[in-house]
Amino acid sequence: MPATVTLTDVVKDYADVRALDHLDLSIETGRITAVLGPNGAGKTTAVDLMLGLRRPTSGRVQVLGRAADDRAVRSRVGAMLQDPGFPEATTVAEVLHLVGVAYPDPMPLHEVLEQADLAGLGGRRIAELSGGQRQRVAFGMALVGRPDVLFLDEPTVALDVDARRRFWTRIQGLAADGKTIVFTTHHLAEADEVADRVVVIHRGRVLADGSPSAVKALVAGRTIGLTSTLSVQRLAALPGVEHVDESTTEPGPRPVTLHVSDVDAAVHALVSADVPLHDLTVRDAALEDAFVHLVASAT
């Protein structure tokens, strides 16, 4: 699959802080890539570099085979920034029209308003909008030029649950049309649900990179929940069990969670232990757990 965006050995220093530390990253065409990381990990810096808003200290950033700030690249890229700073007395329609005319083949205004979930708000001034509505204007700005590549920096922070769902449905539709989508988030469930690929960044380096399930598998893979009287020591000694969380240290039956690398071996051992077991569940580790575990083990 061809790459749309490549970062090659990129270092970015601010004064005495290293935001990106020899980062290599290649984003494939037509996929949804999530860039995940805690605050200060370098996510926004990486996106700013891909947008040509910042220059790398060293290394190379290419978008569509050219420098990120090349005019021809700008005509094919849409961006949703965290705080676009639209002029307050301007209307939604004026902002979207102005940005649209700069692109070779813009969407008609009514279409972009509908796509960005802004129907009926075209005549509103920016000053009159809520945070979520402003964020949708930023999304409209990213969409209006029918770009091939979309960069979305923390795109759903101010959206409510319904708006968020509609937003991701739209993004998945765009990906199905062959658009390349890169977004940053620390809303981990979203990366899990939406992304084809998750890149975990921490301290300016790639900590993990793969499909959401591959990233989750990097940590104990799965969890087993049960209610049991077995001690933590006995549970942890079972084959395939990596780590045990117990809800209480009180004697008697209590819910525990086992983080396991081998579900079959662990369940087999539990059954063979011949003690009462209740409420047995097996599930994938949430990406959240994987993420916390990854970051913790890297520090």
Binding site: A3, R74, A79, G85, E94, H97, V101, M141, A208
Partner: protein, 292 residues
Amino acid sequence: MSTLMTTPPTTPPTTSDLDVSPVIRRRPRDAIRVLSAQVAAEVRTNLRVPEFLVGAVSVPVLLYAMFGSAQAGEALPAGTSVAAMMAVSFAAYGIVSLAIFTFGVDIARERGQGWLRTRRVTPLPTWVYFAGKIAMALAYSVVILAGITVVAVTLGDVRLPMETWIRLWAVLASGAIVFSTFGFAIAWLARPRAASTIGNLLFLPLSFASGFFFPLSELPPVLAEAAPWLPTYHYGRVVWAQLAPPVDVTAWTGAEATGSLWPHVAWMLGSFVVFGILAAVGWRRDREATLG
């Protein structure tokens, strides 16, 4: 940590793998579309800002109506109407304040809020932003000129040949372009939050010392002595000369008016260039800081 790394699917592609469309050629028609969208947005946006309409557009007209038109009937030694001289002076003040506030304070605010940075991720060219601001300032200059002309003719009893009016309007409106770089310099050299204060601190003394509110000959000598060092004063000299013979300009300013306007024009052009360079330095510095 390395044990946790999966192999990223990075096969560094060669350029030939990439789907690169030919560089979009911008035709002049496209540039005009973008520019007209920018100008329309600027003009309409300012119509919704009462502070702008009152402060920048109405105040010069109202001040003239209150102070200038009352001089109806008075004349300078060679017969030039005082009400007409006041009219062009208040128009000059209005246009200089428009330049400082729209080019300086407005842009500084949009820079501070990040809108200029946001525009950089779009294909919107930078020059369109500047051209849009200048076109908007010209449009509102014409509104100020129309307002003052109406008051001058009705209340001030000013009668001038049509060709004089046209020349006055053209010379006065050119001030919006000449002083645009002064505003741009404020916008990029001042901290965004300080720009409004700096604009206010600059434009009142400039207008007084240039003789826009009262004839310089009626002001304290210190102001009259400072005037020749102010580009706005030279703008005033070019404007007054459109209306009054040198003897009346001398009476009005208290400074000997020779026949030649070129020194004054040179001051205006020099100020345009010098502040343009300062603005460019500030713009570059800001760009380097945001890229850094």
